[in-house]
């Protein structure tokens, strides 16, 4: 009797130790997180915070796993029975609980040793489960579809308006087309190179028939084949025109980029 019992006890002891270890770690994690939140909240960043939560949740899940582990005896089979309730302060208990529980008295015992929810809560749960079971599957299905429908409708509305809103704000950014790059180009070239301001030289009329400025521009855009049609060069005297034309026809000296 002694041996198996001791074996069982031993197992229980070790598993309890393990459990305690885990819980302690978890507790430490929580307290350090709380400490950080309280004293170092300026430096805490969101990823940092998430990291802490991750640590805590992993701690919880390992504890859970430990409880479900095979080696773990069924703790449920053990009964904790309070032998003595005393209203006096218990320094040993106080030390064990790090000052959280000062005495093992009537007040704290129901909270600490509870294995079932409170009766009122139990009642409410009961009520709800009864109500749920009273609904037929068809009705439930109907309600489900109705709910789905409503939700999807709302979703649609929200999406539509958010689209519109996006478009609006986009438009706002687009609207101030307060200047036209075409005009800028026209004006600057007029002021620096005199294009469209220069009067056609009466002597070189035949070579470059006078045309309206806009027309001329269109021509330039359309006739990409011969964009380098020489403009009348001011400062030339009629006698030199012929040679000029020749030069332009054979190879134009400045190729534009």
């Amino acid at each position: 009797m002694q041996a198996p019992q001791s074996k069982e006890e031993k197992q229980l002891e070790t598993s309890l130790d393990d459990l305690l270890q885990r819980v302690r770690e978890l507790k430490q994690g929580i307290s350090s997180f709380i400490y950080k939140l309280e004293n170092d909240y300026q430096n805490i960043s969101w990823p940092n915070m998430m990291e802490h939560f991750g640590v805590l949740s992993s701690g919880l899940s390992t504890t859970k796993r430990l409880l479900k582990a095979e080696k773990m005896p069924l703790l449920r089979n053990y009964v904790l029975f309070p032998i003595l309730l005393s209203p006096d302060r218990d320094p040993h208990l106080e030390k064990l609980t790090e000052g959280r529980v000062l005495a093992f008295n009537h007040e704290v015992v129901p909270d600490y040793l509870r294995t079932k929810p409170e009766p009122e809560v139990e009642e409410k749960v009961q009520l709800l489960s009864v109500k749920a079971s009273s609904i037929t599957p068809e009705v439930a299905q109907k309600q489900l579809t109705a709910l789905n429908k409503i939700t999807s409708n709302i979703l649609d509305i929200i999406n539509a308006s958010s689209d519109e809103w996006d478009k609006d704000s986009n438009q706002k950014n687009v609207v101030p087309s307060t200047s036209s790059p075409q005009d800028t180009l026209t004006l600057i070239s007029a002021i620096t190179k005199g294009s469209k301001l220069r009067r056609p030289d009466p002597t070189s009329m035949q070579q470059c028939p006078p045309m309206g400025p806009t027309q001329q521009q269109q021509m330039q855009q359309q006739q990409q084949l011969q964009p380098q049609k020489p403009m009348p060069v001011v400062g030339r005297v009629p006698s030199t025109i012929k040679t000029n034309i020749k030069a332009a026809a054979t190879s134009h000296p400045y190729q534009r980029p």
Partner: protein, 217 residues
């Protein structure tokens, strides 16, 4: 021989550079820009300063103008204020625009302004200059420190030589906006200042350094 008392004033012509940023604005949005400029620039309390100038560009080039020498042609811009008969005429020489590297915030070109008597047109023609083109510029003028902002419209003259306003034809539906500073060579700090100033006019106008080589005549 060089000991005359005039010598210093003649020899020390510091080369002046013009730092330039350009853009344009549609006529409809002009007033918005003007009011913003008025707030940004000096003398906000006074009214807009306007100007109306007649500019004629004269070119001196060789008779045997082969294309290579064409690049050596010298052009002088002669300006004459139409709204202020008292103001002297003006010769302006503008050098080839340098873009510089990408880091340089503005266009830089040599620039020389010389006030002169009103017979300058005939005088230049007698020197061998030929009229290249002319136009009228009318618009508004602002200054902030040594930065100068002009917002003006360019007009073609329908008939040569007549400068009254019935003879004008606007070149486009936009005003040209220029931000410029004329300063001695090598003051790169100005470019930064201009860039900062231009930044404040966005997105109304986006003042840029325009590559003049990109322009075709």
């Amino acid at each position: 021989m060089e000991t005359t008392s005039l010598a210093p004033s003649l020899k020390n012509i510091a080369p002046q550079q013009e730092y330039l940023l350009q853009a344009s604005i549609l006529d409809a949005n002009r007033d918005v820009l003007l009011h913003r400029l008025r707030g940004l620039c000096d003398n906000a309390e006074s009214n807009f300063e306007t100007f109306a100038d007649y500019e004629a560009v004269y070119v001196l080039s060789f008779l045997e103008s082969s294309a290579v020498q064409q690049s050596q042609a010298v052009s002088f811009r002669v300006r004459h204020a139409l709204d202020d008969p008292e103001a002297p005429d003006h010769i302006r020489y503008i050098g080839q625009a340098e873009l510089g590297d990408r880091a340089r915030p503005t266009l830089v070109r040599a620039c020389l302004d010389v006030a002169c008597s009103s017979n300058v047109r005939e005088f230049l023609q007698e020197m061998g200059f030929k009229l290249d083109y002319d136009c009228v510029m009318k618009g508004y003028f602002f200054h902030k420190g040594r930065m100068k902002v002009t917002v003006y419209k360019i007009f073609r003259l329908l008939q040569p030589g007549k400068t009254d306003s019935s003879n004008w034809e606007p070149l486009s539906m936009s005003h040209l906006v220029e931000l410029s500073v004329v300063a001695p060579l090598g003051q790169e700090q100005i470019g930064e200042d201009m860039k900062n100033f231009a930044e404040q006019l966005k997105p109304l106008v986006v003042l840029e350094k325009f590559d003049h080589r990109r322009l075709h005549n």
